[in-house]
Every structure is written in C-alpha cells, then in structure tokens.
Point group: C2
Chain length 435, copies 2
C-alpha cells in the first residue's frame, strides 16, 4: 500500500522464483499469508453456523461498564506506555548537561513525536519568553538586522521533514567489545520531524551578504552560548530558522522559540534557541567546535568540520532488549538515513552478511529523512546474525565495522555509521555482536 | 526548497510577466525579497565597520545567566504556548460526550501532534489494559479469530500519513448567518498523522471471508460500544488496524491500543479501541449510523453511508481571531485535503472569488492527506475577501456555498466542504463572511 519493492525483488517476484530471498530464512514479503501462519487463536465452536460465533471470546471488560475519562485539552500517552520515554544520560553529577535518547526500538514509522525527540544540552533548557527574545544577523553584511518572533512570523514559510542525529550517536561502537545495550541507549541520539520555518537564505538576502563572507557562526540563547560555524554555501542552500516541529511550536527542549535546522548536518549545528548569526570570512573556531566535534584519527591528526551525517541504517526490531518469542514468521523492521540525500536501498542479512536481500522501503522516501524498511523472516529457532546495509542516492554504502575502523581509527567518538549486527541465540535472546 | 509551483504559475514566471497573479494584491511568491520588505529592524550604528555591530541589539536575558532546566523523559510544550490546546465542546451537562477540536489556526505544516489530534467520543475515553484487550474477527468467515496485541504485533506493518475528519466538521456553516468563530471552533474536527499498523485485508485473508459477505461492522471497546458498518471493498483496499500514531503507540483519546484507520472516510468509521469486526451481508444499521451520520435533504429523504470526505480547503492564516497587524506583504497559509485522493491544485482569491491564482503546495503531496498551501499577498490596508478553492486529482472541485446548499440543502449538519470566506476590514479585523 505504502511500500515498494526494489526492482531486484520485483523481478524475482514476477519470475515466480523461490520464496527465499537470502540465507537463513529471509523471505519474499508476499508469502506471509500463503504460509498459513496464524498468530491469532482460532475460535472453534460453530464457527460458520452460529452468527454470534467469536463474540463469546470477548469479555465485557471493566472499561466498557462505565463511561470513560473526559475530553482533554492536550492529550498524553497511556499509563501502560510509561516505558516509552527518553532515557537520560547526563554528565556525571549534572542534570542539565548531557543527552536524553529516543526509544527507537519502541517506535514505528518515521516521525518522532515531539515529546520523544532526543536532546543534547550544554547548559540545560532555557525557559525563553518569546516576546523578549531577539535574533540578530550581523557581521559581514550590508545591513545588520534584529528580528522579533512576530517579525520572523511574517516571512514566507517552508516545511521539510528531516532527521537530526548527534555527531556522537553510536560513540560506544568504537570500543573493542560490543556493548550490551538497547538501540535507544547506544543509537538514540537520532530523531525525525516535520519542521516549518523561514529560509535562512531569505533573511541573509535581506541583510545583504558581503562577498568576503564564506562562513557564519550561529549562537544559542542558552547559558552555554552554544555556537557553531556553518559554511555560507550550506546556509543559503536548505537551512531553515524553524519555528514549528510536527505542526506545533518548538518545545523548549528542542529550541523554543526558534532553532536552526541544517538538513543532513551533524546535530550540534542545528543551533537551538537561536539568538545570533554572524557572517565571517572563516570558521569562528568556537569553544564548541574545537574542544568537541572533531574526528581524531589514529595518526593524531584531526578532521574538522565533517558536517554531513553519513549513510546509515539500524534494525530496531528485533534488537537487544526485544527478544524473539518463538520460532516462525516475523517482520524485521528498521530505519535508514543519509545526510547526503535519499536512501536508495537497504539490504538485510540473517546470516551475518554472507547473503543479503533488498528490504521494502516505506513511501514516500524523502531526502535527508528517516526511511523505514521492512523484511519478512522465518526464524528457524537457531542462531542468526541480523544486519542491515543502506545505500543512498549518491552511491554511498554503509561500511562494515572493519572498514570504518580502518578509515577513521578508534580514537574518536564521532560519526559512527557502520553496520550494526544483532546475534540471535537459539533461546531467542538478542545480543549486540561484532560480525 | 520543498514547495512547487503549479505549471500555470511556473509559466507565468518564466514569461517574466507582471508580479501580480490575481486581484487585490496576490503576488508571485518570488518577489518577496526583491520588494524590499524588511520586517526586521535595521541596526544603524557602524553596521559594516564595527565587527560587533548587531551584538549590542541583544540583551543578556535572564535565561542566559543560569543553567536551564534538566533533561526530561517526555517533553512538554512551552508555558508560553498554553493557548495551543484543543478546545472542548461537550454535550451540555456532560464531560465525556462530545468533541475536542484541533487549533488549526495556530499550527503549521501538515502533521498534527498527537496531543492535539481532535477527539469525538460517545462515552468517554476508556483506560484499556493492553494485555487484557482482545480483538475478534467473526461472522461470515471460514475461521473466527481472536487477536491479542502481542499476536497482532507480529504481522507485517504498513504505514501511511492520512487525515481524519469528523463528518460533522463545519456543521455550523449550514446556518443562515456566518458564525464568528475561529477555524478551530468551527472546522477543528480535522487532524493528520502518520499511522502504522496491520492491513485489515491481511487479517481478513487469514479468517477467510465467505463470498456472501459484502460489509463488516466494527465495534469499539468504549462504554458506548460505538459501531459502524464499512463496505468490504474498502476494508480490503487500504484500511489499517493502527497501533502507532506519529511513531508512538496510539494515545487513549485516539483509540489505544488499536483503532481502524479508514483513509478518506468520515471520522466515525475509524473505530477507536477496536474490539470486534463482524463480516455481514449488508450494513448492520447500528444505532450510531441510523440516529446520526445520515444526510437529510430538503426533500426529507436521507443519504446514508456517504463515506468519503469531499475535496476541501481552508485558509488558516489570516483567519478569524488572527487579525492583520499592518498593511504590506504577508503570507496566506492554509490546508487542503480530499478523501478521494491527492490535492491537484489550490487557488486563492483576495477579491471574493472574482479572480484566483494557484497557490504553492508543500511537498510531498500525499493521497488522502493534509496538503499545506501558501500564497504571497500584499494587503493594501483596504477591505478584502479571502477564499481558497481546492481541486483533487479526480477533478472534484470544492463548491461554492450556494452550490453546496443547492445540492444538499440546509437540514443536515454533515459533510460541509464548501469554500470558506474571510472578510478583512480596513482595520485588519478578520470576520467569517458568506461571499
């Protein structure tokens, strides 16, 4: 309905070939129903003859016996879903500095609800009065400008759905031994939303950019004055000063009342609580881009301003913490993304990479956005190693762990994008493994 | 960036024609910056010579002087956005029966955050324990089935973004005089989300549909046992048993732990808290589809089972309650949708329908989903009448009010989809008018 087969898989289908599409039980998705897998319980008494058959399988539960809760102004999740929350990983001894992580293993689709979008703060969440907030553009411009929120709200708006990923997402994967954590714990600095705001290019045009300007530095109104440099070419391409997230105003933990959205770039460039942009000849070398966010190679040299997040994917279900319950058919589900453009293909393996088959991609596939992929699998109850490998429209292929370590070394904690492997035991336990 | 011109508008641009695209100030969107409109305040002292120019326009606000709030498990909106909430319109004397309405005039983009999705309840919101909940398929099937939430979660998932609109949305527009209310108050029974769940077609295939079955009746686990009949052809086309809304599990007020999503059909068919589907030869004529949701014509005859919501659009900004502040350039923003497919075109008028120009549509334009449209306008400070008119991919055009009353009469309160008009006074006040 809203998914598509890759051409390779479609060709296999039309050729009427075997149902198996890769080793260790990966299957053509169409066979699910033909297989006779029934997870529902049958109701055996007088199935077709008694018109009310089936009704007796239902109890009148307590919540049907009295009227329910009243209408509400702003809805909240069910009390039974309290576990679906961000987990907090503050700097030791702090509550305001650190990260909160999105429960990717408990979510579906591609949108992250605003309450679960990851956070990374350097001095807590400011409680900004929007009427007092000002945003200034200055430096190498013809006319410095100061914007109120009201003034900004009069400009033409643009919207796009895009992911934000922290540069340090997956940092623990550079370690020598695989961590036994959930996807949320070691890859949860990743979220996706529909952002609406004003094109930074439009505001820069108004200010009049001096030809000498090649960079800008953006600063937030938090107590850290968090600031990052961004190349002017990116700023005038697709950067937004975002006011809305998934339809409503930004929330304080995501930059209220305004933040940068820098599609595809590492998360910290999407400066929250935006108060100032200064046009400059070169990068400002702020404390935040020299003390952090550089990639130190094994040689001791460092790569600086490696901005786009690389092509990457993750299987979210099954994954560590979500054990297999019993052998048989199930769906492997995951997400893929690239800071360089659209996802072109995600391949899934159940035998540790010896064989792969293309997964179905949820449509629409959007540039620099999360893409949900799905693969049908018959688990035979034996050991399996699950992997996913994404390719983007520029041809960038998600590397193996060995290739990533070979190119970037293991002295850094940034820009991990290699293939993640889940080892399934014959008991159904799912462990993080290096394979 | 993420919008497109219609071909007509694009042709006008490439021809280098006048900036005006329709009467009373509607403009080609590209002229915004060339027009010299600057809503920001200029900073005049030593703009280009002093490197720090602009910085003095910024105060160090209190929230920059101390660390902010700590990390949080589930984020909430800013205290300054408390007005962005659903408004409650219960049946008099009740708190659990009635509606809560989405603040469409305060939102942007196309996604409705889960806490703001409209509600329509017939006996309140049940607090369902998902482990105790059962969903049964029975009636004219080979094998009645009962599903736990765990069982349902093992099936292949499908996702789609689609709107839900109450059949009674806009009911007050059948009245003889235009109501002076916000969009939220009289059109707020409309929301849009990314839904993920199991195709009902897959579950029906497992149960084995008897060839005599042409309809089904779906029942909710609320105290009202709310139930609606749906044609089998629709059920096997694109209906989902949805488990997730914008990535997270459904919320209680939107059907936790499972609901039907029936793309394009009137809201009440998307049965919440789904507990039972019975396959039948004809419609069940439940209390909920005979006492309500039929369209009584002036002749006294009633139309029953008018399921898809018709092609429709609304300008959300400016609109009643959002006055114009001063003459000059601004953006007209609104939403369009159709239960029959994709929006093909939205035309906007500033002179009460004498002239129209095509608006820009936010991409991607998805079938049976909200589509955001935008139009540049130079308000000259005089009276204006704003309208939008949507056309869908099947060729259905949003009717005038007169045409709608002529075809459906004014004895019903359902399926209002005619053009809405906003009258702007020379003081900038925005009133709902019939034009």
């Amino acid at each position: 309905m809203t998914s598509k087969m890759t051409s390779q898989s479609a060709a296999r289908r039309s050729a009427g070939a075997a149902e198996s599409v890769a080793g260790n039980g990966l299957l053509d998705r169409r066979i699910f129903l033909r297989s006779g897998a029934v997870f529902a319980a049958g109701i055996t008494s007088g199935a077709l003859t008694a018109p009310a058959a089936g009704a007796q399988a239902l109890q009148i539960e307590p919540w049907m016996k009295t009227p329910g809760a009243p209408l509400s102004g702003y809805g909240q999740p069910s009390q039974y879903e309290a576990k679906v929350a961000r987990i907090l990983t503050p700097v030791p001894g702090q509550t305001q500095i650190g990260t909160s992580r999105t429960p990717l293993h408990l979510l579906e689709g591609t949108i992250t609800p605003n309450g679960l979008h990851f956070e990374r703060h350097h001095s807590g969440v400011p409680d900004i009065n929007p009427d007092a907030h000002r945003f200034v553009i200055h430096g190498l411009v013809r006319q410095p400008l100061v914007f109120t929120l009201d003034a900004l709200s009069r400009y033409p708006m643009h919207a796009r759905t895009t992911f934000i990923e922290c540069a340090g997402n997956g940092a623990l994967l550079f370690q020598n031994a695989p961590v036994q954590q959930t996807v949320q714990q070691f890859q949860g600095l990743l979220s996706c939303a529909e952002w609406t705001g004003v094109r930074l290019a439009d505001l820069l045009d108004e200010a009049g950019v001096d030809p000498k300007a090649q960079w800008l530095v953006a600063e937030g109104a938090d107590a850290a004055g968090f600031s990052r440099s961004i190349p002017l070419a990116k700023a005038t391409d697709d950067v937004l000063v975002a006011l809305y997230q998934n339809g409503e105003r930004l929330r304080p933990s995501n930059g209220y009342p305004m933040r940068l959205v820098v599609p595809g770039y590492e998360g910290n460039t999407h400066v929250k609580w935006l108060r100032r942009i200064k046009l400059t000849e070169g990068p400002a070398m702020t404390k935040d881009e020299t003390s952090k966010y550089t990639i130190t190679l094994n040689s001791g040299k460092s790569l600086q301003f490696v901005h786009p997040q690389e092509c990457k994917s993750l299987i979210t279900r099954p994954s560590h913490g979500l054990a297999m319950k019993e052998p048989g058919l199930c769906e492997i589900s995951g997400i893929a993304w690239s800071g360089y453009g659209k996802i072109a293909k995600v391949e899934v393996s159940a035998d540790g990479g010896r064989s792969y088959a293309p997964a179905m991609l949820q449509e629409p596939v959007l540039s620099k956005s999360l893409t949900r992929f799905r693969m049908l699998w018959r688990w035979n109850g034996g050991p399996a190693t699950l992997q996913s490998r994404a390719t983007d429209e520029t041809g960038q292929v998600q590397p193996t762990r060995a290739a990533q370590i070979a190119s970037r070394g293991s002295r850094t904690i940034y820009h991990w994008n290699a293939i993640t492997s889940w080892g399934v035991s014959d008991k159904g336990e799912v462990k993080h493994v290096y394979a």
